[in-house]
Symmetry: C2
Subunit: 112 residues, 2 copies
């Protein structure tokens, strides 16, 4: 799956930067206009716009312009690709623990 690997690569590269991660954390709460996003960081607007472009190219955010105001949102399901990748990295021991957990849940729910 070359397309999937490119997606994982773009998302992880985008999130490896603490400023971009802080933007994602802020947008997970609600969409925001660019000036709001810039406020907590001591950086110029062009620098922030560059970070937003990286996030947009990685498929993590989308933005819409209404008049002179640009609103940025976290794309729904943006981080699904990372969930998927993480799931694939479960070790045999972790899979065994999962199966034990499922077994215990089933046993417990039968008992109640």
């Amino acid at each position: 799956m070359p397309y999937y690997h490119d997606e994982v690569d773009a998302v992880l590269r985008a999130l490896a930067d603490p400023t971009r991660r802080a933007v994602v954390e802020r947008l997970a709460k609600s969409p925001a206009v660019v000036s709001e996003l810039a406020a907590p960081f001591s950086m110029t607007l062009p620098s922030l716009m560059q970070h937003l472009r990286v996030l947009e190219n990685a498929g993590l955010v989308t933005s819409q312009k209404h008049g002179r105001v640009r609103t940025v949102s976290l794309r729904p399901g943006a981080l699904d690709v990372l969930h998927l990748w993480l799931g694939e990295q479960r070790t045999p021991a972790e899979h065994q623990a999962d199966r034990l957990g499922i077994h215990l849940t089933r046993t417990t729910s039968k008992e109640t």
Copy 2:
């Protein structure tokens, strides 16, 4: 939680590199000796060792030396910090979808 944020930062920086990600993917299957890990990559052993150090510093892998052979393993729970961070980035709409999913699961299991 400054310690937690440092951990997330180290893990994401480590995983942003495709070689290091390929090493993690390989180690999720089973521990491996260094020469095995080096085989699929056209890179020198010192370069690989440098990648392994980054992964080790990020808490993702551990290694043990027996005689002249060094075996590298994925640290159990190594990626938990990333699962946690991803969970925190769920948007209000995704939380609502989660609640709907839980409601449907409960309703369905009552009916059967």
